[in-house]
Amino acid sequence: MSTKTFKGGTHPPERKERSAPNVIEVLRTVKQVVIPVNQHFGAPIQPLVKVGDLVKRGQRIADAEGRMTVPLHASITGTVKKIEPRMQANNLDGLAIIIEQAAEDETDFMVVLDPYACTKEAALARVHDAGIIGVGGAGFPAHVKFAPPPNKPVDYVIANAAECEPYLTIDERVMEETPEDVIDGMAIVMHIVGAKRGVVGLEDNKAHLVAGLERAIASRANGAAITVQLLTTKYPQGGEKMLITAITGKEVPSGGLPMDVGCVVSNVGTLKSVSEAFRQGKPMIDTGLTVTGGACETPKNLVVPVGTLAQDLFPDVVRYDESRLRRIVMGGPMMGPAVPSLQIPIQKNTSGLLLMDSAEAKVYAEGTCIRCGRCMRACSCRLSPALLNGALIANDLDLAEKIGVLDCIECGTCSFVCPAHIQLVQRFRVGKQLVRAKKQKEAQRAGK
């Protein structure tokens, strides 16, 4: 099978070998969960429960009207202890519902629904009711993604199985252990969006999964035309835009969405949740993640209730060497935020918990640009990072916008390759905010 890829990118050390062989351990319940209310991208939702309420695993505990919202569910059976702002993985405080484990262990799932027997509206409603968001990125509500407007027909449903972030192995394990669920979820999404073709985009460092996935396609695809496509192992191969370009050869237009080129891209974890929402009536209440890193003594792939505090995994589930721990990262090392403590809840879209030691977690002073051009070659969006950096340092927001700061996907490749350790992507993140604010101001002025 030929491998496909995109132009640019880089190859960070993979460091997946410590956790990759380990079978997923499932934690059914924990002593407490801190569930951030707003984990999705979109309009905020409000708690439906109050302190003292007894909630069951799977029960809806927060919701709101509106298309860009998804409901939130209790991930363990227990008592609501507090509803208060808590620090989250983005290093900001956000409203969270804190539930303490109760003795009984009941579940409150939805009824099982046959995705091929119900209407598409009912199927989309189920995806919404299950609180499914894209777990590969910003947490975009899945039911919105699966309902493109009629003038944007979808040709491809792409399963994002690249897992291009170093260290992370949870998607690999999910595909190894339960490929049927992933393929089933994919076939359901293809049915909902009316796509004729499904492609599992897999980096070629996971080529050993092809046979299992193809067996699952034979048994669970329900007649949908799904193929597995190997992709070059290269970061950011799992970036939505890069994945689409590698597989279809098309580029998502600037400012547009995958649906503009007839694609719907979903992460492996999201697709598994879709399958569970129909076949078991189970909402998105568990998160799969990899816990690893140099300071982690027992690297593992875990499935834990949403809202589990990283702290509560230690030392019973995972052990780490406190003396060597220098940095905690929620997610992968290329895009995941570093957090100040382990008192951070694991969210629906948390894919990893890295406990990095001092050999891995280095901090460098920013040097001066020597114009070597490494970032120019590596940028996955061909954005000329060195020039963009110069424009932002000079505070020339017009030039920054022209070069394309708003198209930056913040993959961090430029900062990774920079010999002078210039804060490229970090500056672009700020630059995006500044350019957006400036555009908003201009629009207001024009409106007057």
Partner: protein
């Protein structure tokens, strides 16, 4: 509970490990074959020129930064590279105080005055050479026959000099045979001698073969891009041919290849974008050929690259199309929308 010695920083949290020092070190390694060969050709005086130049460059940079209360970073080796480059494009017999002035000018006038590493608009080594060429025209154009020593050896013209003074390539070949540098004087044998580099000229520019070795090394480590050198040599070749000069001789003699590989690829004085690099190289190649044909100097690489340096910032506007580029919608003409 983790203690508060945890590091917090914005992602990414991993890096390649490539540093400016490693990049400079690879340039130094790429320059070693031509440097060593220059010493083989011209003996100890050439070695002294190189060492003096490097020493002066490093000391000037440290002294200037100390005097202006800036952090000293001679450990990034960029001054070593500049010092080597100034020496390699100078004649082997150059008095040491002259090379010291050239090296000082390269570091202080061309580099540190503009902000140091990464900020110099013109190639420092070429500025150093240009200043020496204007200040010491005689010493900078005194050439020597290889393997004959320098102190009491016969001086000889460079191949480009011979041709500039109205000679032919056959005259160049005859000169090679007379000096025992080639066995025969026919055209192919002359070109082979030029390719190997057994000829008079600047310390580092003579051996095309060893320059190519350095070029391939730098390409393999992805330290430089192939675009600029290819565009420069290609354009010089075509332009020489159009202007009625022997293009193969033009590329193999003189400093066009050394300039294309080690000078036109200078990070801070050349464009960053691929299209900019191509235009920069093409312009430098064209100007080189024009100077060789019509100019007062037999060689034109120095001024060709310096001229293109001045245009380099504008060439950076030739960016590649960003991912998903959508052309701006044309304003709808009045009435056309109806």
């Amino acid at each position: 509970m983790p203690a508060n010695n945890l590091l917090l920083s914005s992602s990414p949290h991993v890096f390649t490990g490539v540093t400016p020092r490693k990049l400079m070190l690879s340039v130094i390694i790429a320059l070693m074959p031509v440097t060593i060969y220059g010493v083989v050709l011209f003996g100890v005086p050439a070695l002294l020129v190189v060492l003096t130049s490097v020493f002066t460059a490093v000391v000037s940079e440290a002294a200037f930064r100390a005097a202006t209360k800036q952090a000293i970073h001679i450990d990034d080796l960029s001054a070593v590279v500049t010092g080597m480059l100034v020496a390699l494009i100078s004649p082997p017999s150059l008095p040491l105080w002259m090379i010291a002035i050239g090296s000082f000018a390269a570091i202080v006038l061309a580099k540190e005055f503009f902000g140091g590493l990464g900020a110099n608009p013109f190639n420092p080594a070429l500025i150093g050479r240009a200043i020496m060429l204007m200040s010491f025209p005689a010493a900078m154009t005194t050439w020597h026959v290889p393997f004959k020593g320098i102190i009491d050896a016969t001086t000889g013209a460079t191949p480009l000099n011979i041709v500039k003074m109205g000679g032919t390539i056959a005259d160049v070949g005859k000169g090679f045979v007379d000096n025992g540098l080639a066995a025969a004087s026919q055209y192919s044998s002359t070109l082979w001698t030029l390719f190997v580099g057994n000829r008079g000229g600047c310390i580092g520019e003579s051996s095309i073969l060893l320059i190519l070795v350095g070029f391939i090394f730098l390409l393999a480590l992805r330290v430089i891009s192939f675009i600029t050198p290819l565009a420069m040599v290609g354009t010089a070749f075509v332009a020489s041919w159009i202007l009625g000069m022997d293009p193969v001789f033009g590329v193999l003699s003189g400093g066009v290849l050394f300039g294309a590989v080690f000078m036109a690829t200078d990070y801070s004085s050349s464009p960053l974008t691929p299209l900019g690099k191509a235009l920069f190289g093409a312009g430098a190649g064209l100007v080189t050929a024009i100077i060789r044909k019509f100019g007062g100097y037999p060689e034109g690489v120095t001024y060709a690259i310096l001229m293109m340096n001045a245009l380099s910032p504008f060439m950076d506007n030739l960016r590649v199309k960003k991912y998903g580029f959508v052309p701006a919608a044309k304003p709808v003409a009045k009435g056309a929308a109806k």
